[in-house]
């Protein structure tokens, strides 16, 4: 065929030579599988949950939920038994596709716990009763599997695959309520904007590959030090790649999808999106930023993220994005009357606060004994409990009042004091007031940013916190000061326990944060440049 007379890209190797590069191919896969048990459990769990649903009655829509919880528990168990790898044990699996380090294990634990909290919410959601739910749980577990990949990827291909896996399942889960117009519309908007964001990202990844000749994040970062590419190309590449991450964490300028999708999706899945999906996005962003900010081989040259090569201050660029993200989120939240929409804008604002922490990571990379990403991870833990808690209470209230609008909360303090007090604490924590984890978490973020010279950003963040008091306090006022119609109701024991279980970590992280901080500080981190 005459076409093939052109240059072949194989570098002249044959397939046998490829296999010869991996003499212990089969045995290494065997050993890697041992460290890959949580993922394997999820893979089998997806199929298992769908099968369980096939053999149960449609009215019995909770049954696959219990099995999904079992799968999550098993995955959690394997994660805990595996433990946090120490700095010596940290390394790569499957020929450098994914890493095994303390950071990844911690993020996976966080993601699994978040998903496990969402499952009971799904089981008690009234719109999701009496349907075939096997596919829902299968997709949810699949989404979690994709996020595991995001938390541990080190190859650009795995970055892309993880993000796409988590995204596709999320599109489908958003539109899962087929008869619901809002859900379908949210699903359409999500799939369109999500696809275009990943398209932009993969274009950026391809330029990175072309510049460096490698798909491994560490190798790419090292190769960029010596690259002769023009600074403008590097900046464009970084921004194109950032599009994919910004979309996952709903940061400016790719935040606009969040309110519509959050409002359209069923409440438990909105909670999942705003917390678990965002945490996975931050995991991948931190992995990327740390790899590209690491000191070069000679200890002098610093790559993309630190800006020494480009004469560009990357912490400042991230800081500007963080400022926009939090300001836009908080200002738009002021006018919202739908609870889900309000929390959507609030979650955009929180993405801004977390991005502030990421901006502060950059100057600290390579510093001994103090990973700069510790405040971000701490805040993600706090955010997980406070946001899921707020959604959980909102779901109970919405089921009672039949509306997700804010007036449904009026007089909640009289009708259901437990819920009202719980929501009060979550709101306090979301504002960032003591004695909650929201305060300690945000204080650490602000401190990290201040110490790394991002003074303007800190001022903007504090101003934003003050603005946010208005809309959170509005809900508190509605609950305790306003008169609502409707009778009081007694909560089932299960729901009461659940609320308490969510409040305890918030207070605990607010009062005794040291053990968690130490745990996060001690996590190992593979792939530093």
């Amino acid at each position: 065929m005459f076409f093939l007379q052109t240059v072949a890209p194989t570098g002249g190797v044959t397939s046998n030579e490829v296999f010869d590069r991996y003499p212990d191919l089969v045995s290494s896969i065997g050993t890697d599988m041992g460290a890959f048990l949580p993922e394997l459990v999820l893979c089998l769990g997806i199929v298992w949950v769908i099968f369980v649903d096939l053999f149960s009655k449609r009215q019995d829509s909770r049954r696959p939920g219990w099995h999904a919880l079992g799968v999550l528990g098993l995955s959690l168990l394997t994660l805990v038994l595996g433990g946090f790898p120490s700095a010596e044990e940290a390394g790569s699996l499957f020929h450098g596709m994914v890493v095994r380090d303390g950071f990844a294990v911690f993020m996976k634990l966080l993601l699994t716990i978040g998903t496990a909290i969402c499952v009971p919410m799904v089981m008690s959601h009234k719109d999701l009763q009496g349907r075939r739910m096997g596919e829902f749980y299968g997709l949810l577990l699949g989404s979690l599997l994709g996020m595991y990949m995001m938390a541990s990827a080190r190859n650009l291909l795995m970055f892309f695959m993880g993000i796409e896996f988590a995204s596709y399942t999320s599109y489908l889960l958003t539109g899962y309520l087929k008869g619901d117009r809002k859900a379908a519309e949210g699903g359409v908007k999500y799939v369109i904007y999500g696809s275009v964001a990943s398209g932009i990202m993969v274009y950026g990844l391809s330029i990175l590959y072309g510049l460096t000749g490698s798909l491994d994040v560490g190798a790419v970062a090292q190769a960029l030090i010596v690259t002769k590419a023009s600074p403008s190309l590097l900046i464009i590449t970084a921004l194109l790649c950032f599009a994919g991450f910004a979309y996952k964490i709903s940061a400016f300028p790719l935040h606009f999808w969040a309110p519509d999708v959050y409002e359209g999706a069923p409440m438990p899945f909105t909670a999942f999106l705003s917390v678990v999906s965002k945490a996975a996005g931050f995991a991948i962003l931190i992995r990327f930023v740390v790899a590209f900010g690491a000191p070069g081989a000679d200890g002098q040259a610093l790559t993309l993220a630190s800006g020494k090569v480009l004469d560009l201050d990357w912490p400042q660029i991230l800081a500007v994005l963080a400022m926009f993200t939090m300001t836009i989120g908080n200002l738009a939240a002021l006018w919202q009357n739908n609870f889900k929409r309000l929390l959507a804008y609030s979650s955009i604002a929180h993405a801004g606060y977390l991005l502030m922490g990421v901006a502060a990571v950059v100057p600290r990379i390579g510093a001994e004994g103090d990973p700069g990403w510790q405040p971000v991870l701490f805040y993600l833990v706090v955010y997980l409990f406070m946001n899921l808690g707020a959604f959980y209470i909102a779901q109970i209230v919405a089921a009672r009042t039949g509306t997700e609008e804010l007036p449904g909360f009026a007089g909640l303090g009289k009708r259901a004091p437990v819920l009202a007090v719980g929501l009060f604490l979550f709101m306090i924590s979301l504002i960032g007031l003591p004695p909650t984890g929201g305060f300690t978490g945000k204080w650490q973020l602000l401190k990290a940013a201040w110490e790394n010279g991002l003074h303007t950003l800190v001022l903007v963040a504090v101003t934003n916190t003050v603005i946010s008091v208005y809309y959170y306090a509005r809900i508190i006022k509605l609950m305790f000061l306003d008169q609502g119609d409707g009778e009081g109701y007694v909560l089932p024991v299960g729901q009461r326990t659940a609320v308490v279980l969510m409040v305890v970590p918030i207070l605990w992280l607010g009062l005794f944060m040291d053990s968690t901080v130490h745990l996060i500080r001690s996590l190992s981190f593979a792939v530093i440049g």
Binding site: M1, F2, F3, L4, Q5, T6, V7, A8, P9, T10, G11, G12, T14, S15, N16, V18, F19, R21, Y22, L25, I29, I46, V47, L93, F94, H95, G96, M97, V98, G130, R131, R132, E135, G138, L139, G142, L145, G146, M149, N155, L157, M158, M161, E164, F165, Y168, T169, L172, L173, G175, Y176, K178, G179, G210, K228, A229, S230, S232, L233, I236
Partner: protein, 169 residues
């Protein structure tokens, strides 16, 4: 001009002209067929670049799968004539075009300025080597994507299935 340049320019035309037509056409069925042209052209460029396996995959999956799927989508969602409104209701065309032209200029000039060199080589079949890579270095993504396709297709089938028996409609 040597034959490679001739084929290249033919393929580039086959790619770019239909691509523009997709963006500015009004008939949605025509658009799907214009897309066919672009995808064929890209496949041809893959062959020209020595990627024989990917060129064929492009034809099988993109044209045989995705493009046909899009045509099904057009047929299934046709409540009106095939003519679609060309632009957004309030198209912000002028700023869009300026930003687009600016992006195009910077991207192309930055890419061209990167100093790529041309590498000679011998013709090879890539299919076997690609397979070797997929089963050695890239075995994990290869397995993960099988799980992805399973989960996503089950989910897609659920969403697209008529939900009347569940009382949803």
């Amino acid at each position: 001009m040597n034959w490679e340049a001739v084929v290249f320019w033919a393929m580039a035309t086959l790619v770019l002209v239909p691509a523009f037509a997709i963006v500015f056409s009004r008939n949605i069925v025509h658009m799907a067929f214009w897309l066919l042209g672009t995808l064929m052209g890209v496949s041809g460029l893959y062959l020209l670049l020595g990627a024989d396996f990917l060129g064929m995959t492009q034809i099988f999956v993109y044209i045989g799968g995705i493009n046909v799927l899009l045509l099904f989508g057009i047929m299934l969602t046709r409540s009106e004539p095939v003519y679609v409104r060309r632009l957004a209701k309030r198209p912000k065309l002028a700023p869009g075009l300026i930003i687009g032209a600016f992006t195009a200029f910077t991207l192309v000039s930055a890419l061209l300025g990167a100093g790529w060199r041309n590498v000679p080589g011998e013709p090879t079949e890539t299919a076997g080597i690609l397979g070797a890579f997929l089963l050695s270095e890239y075995i994990l993504p290869f397995e993960i994507i099988s799980v992805l396709l399973l989960v996503v297709l089950i989910g897609a089938a659920y969403i697209a299935r008529r939900g009347s028996r569940e009382g949803a409609e």
